[in-house]
């Protein structure tokens, strides 16, 4: 695995995107977050142990509200979270260094990004249809940030696929 894993990586939805979205797809662009206090999740499959030292969001043309990056088990138990972080900076990656690195063993997880504001913009891909997002295994949490430590993961109702991720460096 590369040090940086993002939602478009092999470990997440990269291959799915290429096979499902390409025909109707367009390049990622800055777009407003689809719904306040919504978190969108992508599968995270890692075949080796991985230590999360930092997270990042790909901030777009407008910053507003709070963001949160979190990792859950498939059963909805929170393993790691940045907590609510004030969104800062436009058209840059916003990096958050975890106070304590979090170890993930090989396996399947869900990696979530949440935002409190529909004014905020992020670099994102449109899945063009909600069914594409569902078929790739995307999920959502209807409340957060802040995200709860135990949640019920729901199937996504959005076509919004944000670029965000984790790193085992402190410099994305």
């Amino acid at each position: 695995m590369l040090p940086v894993i993002n939602s478009f990586s092999f470990e997440c939805l990269g291959v799915h995107i290429g096979s499902r979205v390409h025909a109707g797809g367009s390049a990622p662009n800055s777009a407003t977050w689809p719904s306040a206090t919504l978190a969108l999740g992508v599968p995270l499959n890692i075949d080796r142990s991985y230590t999360v030292k930092s997270t990042f969001t790909a901030n777009g043309a407008a910053a507003a509200g709070n963001t949160e990056v979190s990792i859950y088990t498939l059963g909805g138990l929170q393993l790691m979270s940045t907590g609510a972080v004030t969104m800062s900076g436009t058209n840059v990656p916003q990096v958050y260094t975890l106070p304590t690195p979090v170890y993930l063993s090989p396996g399947s997880y869900m990696m979530f990004m949440g935002c409190s504001s529909t004014t905020a913009q992020f670099l994102r891909l449109s899945t063009t249809a909600t069914r594409n997002a569902k078929m790739m295994g995307m999920a959502q949490i209807a409340s957060g940030p802040p995200l709860a430590s135990q949640v019920t993961l729901a199937s996504t109702t959005s076509t919004y696929l944000p670029l965000f991720g984790i790193s085992n460096y402190t410099l994305v």
Binding site: L2, P3, V4, D47, A58, N91, P93, Y169
Partner: protein, 184 residues
Amino acid sequence: MASSAFQFPTEGQVNYNGVAISAGSRESIGVPLAAQFQVPTSTAWPLANLALFVPFEIYRWWTLQNFLAVNGATVSGNVDVGVYDDDGERLVSMGSTAQSGTSAEQLFNLADYPLSPTTPNCYLAMSMDNTTGTVQAWTPTAPFAACLGVLEMTSAFPLPPTATFALSTRAFIPELTLLARSFA
């Protein structure tokens, strides 16, 4: 930036390095690059003496023989190419070389260099001493490149023995390839 510890592959992993390790390949950032639905185009180097570093992973012993970059419609000045580890230490580089040949690949015949799985996380590196020369590059909207782990260093021509990494601020990812074989 601390080195990642070597981890023995486990059964069932599809971990291999092909003949060509490219910015567009599985060992590098090829998968997320494909998700941005753009192909490389001829683009001027973004800043004189800027070095860009594209991450890739080594799964097993792999001997580097050649380095390829693809020149665009205009060539100018000098370029340098090489490989760094994730501590920013230069493993191998070509040294300053005149950019030569428009709209064609330029081969850099490096001394054979064995890349080791004990240093699994490395970087393809390229630097150019001017902004007139063009190369084939992906130009995704910022901060896409940084979110893929692409790094940069200013005032880095020729490529220095030790790089000071910073997140790339450019909408620019050069098309670079390492080859394990020389092809006539």
